[in-house]
């Protein structure tokens, strides 16, 4: 089987790179969850992170988010090598993560959820007016469709809740936003709403890492797709030059090493010519 359009990422990147992972490894006891992961995320780009169950996506996301610490490898953020010891440190650096269970307080309204843990105050008292004003400003910028910010989050739809969770992550002025399965369990219209939101994040110049199982979503918004397989890199594809089935092949390992096979084929073709 040949993969004519599975192009490896061009090597001459570096401009606008926000986050680079080099040789990240992580093992849990006898299980090598991640092995020599290389990843690069640029500002104003949506990088989809795909892979089968157990491929190491979650481990990688949690490593970047500071939930786990890598055993080996370096993480370069904004040109500096950094060590992220805790989720709080990651947030301070400018890496925001929206996990799959959005972690919203259903009994609180949208404003309270957006500002939870970092409420604006006037003296000792909460500055509700300013928080509400800034909430609207932020939601407008995201073209988010939230009917009112003074209703409990419980009354919002799945897509709106996702929007609130993403907007919440933006309040810390991050440079990298990681979204873990943002469209899982969403309807058609709501999925479109969230994908629009992802595009809006890209327009704001953020680096977006999108973890998804849904190839249609990935192909719709991502600029590049990084495939993980069994804890290792299995190719980085530029979406505009790639067919869905090639990525799926890389995920499932139908052609276990898409990239190397292509390279091998190239060298075969070049071989006789030289």
């Amino acid at each position: 089987m040949t993969l004519p359009s599975a192009t490896p990422a061009p090597p001459d990147v570096g401009a606008g790179t926000v986050l680079t992972l080099q040789g990240i490894s992580k093992r849990f006891g006898a299980v090598q969850a991640l092995k020599n992961i290389e990843l690069e995320v640029r500002a104003g780009e949506v990088l989809a992170l795909v892979g089968d169950n157990g491929a190491g996506k979650s481990t990688l996301v949690k490593t970047i988010a500071g939930v786990y610490t890598a055993d080996d490898g370096t993480m370069v953020f904004d040109g500096r090598a950094v060590r992220v010891g805790s989720p709080a440190e990651a947030q301070q650096l400018g890496i925001a993560t929206v996990f799959q269970d959005l972690a919203l307080c259903d009994n609180l309204d949208v404003v309270a959820n957006l500002y939870l843990g970092r409420e604006l105050r006037k003296g000792r008292v909460l500055d509700e007016v300013e928080m509400e004003r800034q909430s609207w400003e932020l939601l407008r910028q995201l073209s988010a469709k939230i009917p009112s910010v003074r209703i409990p989050v419980a009354s919002l739809s799945g897509g709106q809740r996702q929007t609130v969770a993403i907007a919440r992550s933006l309040l810390g002025r991050p440079k990298v936003v990681m979204l873990d399965e943002p469209t899982a369990a969403l309807g058609v219209a709501q999925t479109a709403e969230v994908l629009n939101l992802v595009e809006r994040l890209r327009e704001r110049g953020l680096a977006v890492i999108l973890i998804s199982h849904n190839m249609a979503d990935v192909m719709a918004v991502a600029d590049r797709v990084a495939v993980l397989r069994l804890g290792r890199n299995n190719g980085v594809f530029v979406v505009s030059e790639t067919r869905t089935q090639d990525i799926i092949a890389a995920i499932t390992g139908a052609t276990d090493n898409a990239v190397s096979e292509r390279a091998a084929r190239r060298s075969r073709e070049e071989g006789p010519a030289s």
Binding site: A88, A103, C105, D106, E119, V129, R133, K145, S155, L156
Partner: protein, 434 residues
């Protein structure tokens, strides 16, 4: 009220656009621009928004107010002296200590936890007051401080057990219920009963100190003025921020209603001894707790932890500190309630804080409308719930019915309150307001 279909926009009906020269959606405040929002304006809008909230199961304190009215009407019919000035003044005195204890319960319930030991803690602090002040001859202030500090320490102990070892609060405080009852008996020693000196300042405060009519009316004026001023200030700030504002008529109506309720209450109470200083202290504690819950970062964190601990933790809230502070506040309120009860009864004995104190306080918080499920409630439910509980007890005593009936009636009211809580929670979920 105007219900907007998908085709119409709210600005068709709003009467006062913020900027008349601007067109279309720009005219609306930032928070009313969404076309799906059911826009309400003016007084009719406020009324319809209120009824819509009720229908969706967000009942707040409406059931308890209705219940209180029914209970008062029934007792008034059964015994004409129930709503007399004299009896209502007695009611305020009886309500205070249970109400203060219930205030602490409201805070723990907001977290979705429980404190079953408030009765024992109140009895213990009363006993410590009696023994140190009467037997040992300590200065009154020192005895009071020690009694309150005892509650604080007990609460911190609970909080530490809960946050360090994850023992359910139900069990910790059940142990506290027994343990501190034992400690109370130990502190009281053999005779088991102590009378406080009738002429001491504490007893005077609890039994003989009433506001003079002039001061009471002045206080009403100050409270209403403060309410109107804060509302106007909020309104100004919201207008400056381009947000929707409450119509002046609403502010005036609410302030007038508040003034009328307070005036009628004070007028009736002044028919007898007047507004008790102790009851005023309770009201002040309620207002302070309400402000702390609604307007401070701490209160917001408490409600958030009660709603979703994990979300609160991830938001960077110091969850452990919140649990510690709430358990501490609850036991402190219990201790204060115990001191006030001792002062009003002019005695402490082995049954102080025993019997139904515990369950009355918990029932008061729940009857008042604080949810047992956490994350929902108000400091005012302690006031309203305590009034309900003590009205029942007071009214049945007037009718010369004994404890057997009182227990059963209180149980019935508690059951109704909890059922309303569960039903409204279900309705809120169905209406997306959980």
């Amino acid at each position: 009220m105007s219900l907007h279909g998908s085709g119409t926009r709210p600005q068709d009906t709003t009467s006062t656009p913020a900027t008349p020269e601007a067109n279309g959606i720009e005219q609306l405040p930032a928070d009313l621009q969404d076309e799906r929002l059911i826009a309400t304006s003016g007084i009719s809008g406020a009324v319809s928004a209120f009824t819509a909230r009720l229908r969706s199961g967000d009942l707040g304190s409406v059931p308890v107010v209705i219940g209180l009215v029914i209970i008062w009407a029934v007792f008034q019919i059964a015994n004409g002296s129930f709503l007399s000035s004299r009896n209502l003044v007695n009611l305020t005195l009886q309500t205070t200590s249970v109400g203060v204890i219930a205030l602490g319960i409201v805070l723990v319930l907001l977290l979705g936890e429980i404190d079953l030991s408030v009765g024992s803690v109140s009895g213990l602090s009363g006993a410590v007051l009696g023994v140190t002040f009467v037997n040992k001859g300590w200065p009154l202030v020192l005895s009071l401080v020690v009694g309150v500090a005892l509650g604080l320490v007990i609460g911190l102990f609970y909080g530490a057990l809960y946050t360090r070892f994850g023992v359910p609060s139900f069990v910790i405080t059940l142990a506290g219920l027994l343990g501190f009852l034992g400690l109370q008996l130990l502190v009281l020693g053999k005779e088991g009963s102590l009378n406080l000196p009738y002429d001491s300042a504490l007893v005077g405060f609890a039994t003989r100190s009433f506001l003079s009519p002039a001061i009471a009316y002045a206080l009403i004026a100050v409270v209403v003025a403060a309410y109107v001023l804060t509302r106007l200030r909020t309104r100004g700030a919201r207008a400056a921020a381009g947000l929707s504002t409450a119509p002046t008529s609403m502010i005036v109506i609410k302030a007038a209603a508040m003034a009328v309720v307070l005036l009628v209450a004070v007028l009736i109470l002044n028919g007898d001894r007047g507004v008790s200083s102790m009851f005023l202290l309770f009201l002040a504690l309620v207002v302070a707790t309400d402000l702390a819950v609604r307007r401070t970062r701490w209160g917001r964190s408490v409600v958030a932890v009660g709603g979703n601990v994990e979300a609160a933790r991830r938001a960077g809230i110091n969850v452990r500190m919140i649990y510690l502070s709430v358990f501490a506040a609850c036991s402190t309120f219990a201790a204060i309630g115990g001191l006030l009860a001792a002062a009003r009864l002019v005695a402490v004995n082995q049954s102080s804080g025993g019997g139904d104190t515990n369950l009355n306080a918990i029932a008061a918080a729940v009857i008042g409308g604080t949810s047992l499920f956490g994350g929902r409630g108000s400091a005012y439910s302690a006031l309203l719930g305590a009034l309900v509980i003590m009205s029942i007890s007071n009214g049945l005593a007037l009718l010369s019915l004994d404890s057997s009936v009182r227990y059963m009636v209180t149980a019935g009211v508690l059951l109704i309150a909890v059922t309303i809580d569960s039903l409204s929670r279900r309705s809120r979920q169905a209406h997306g307001r959980a």
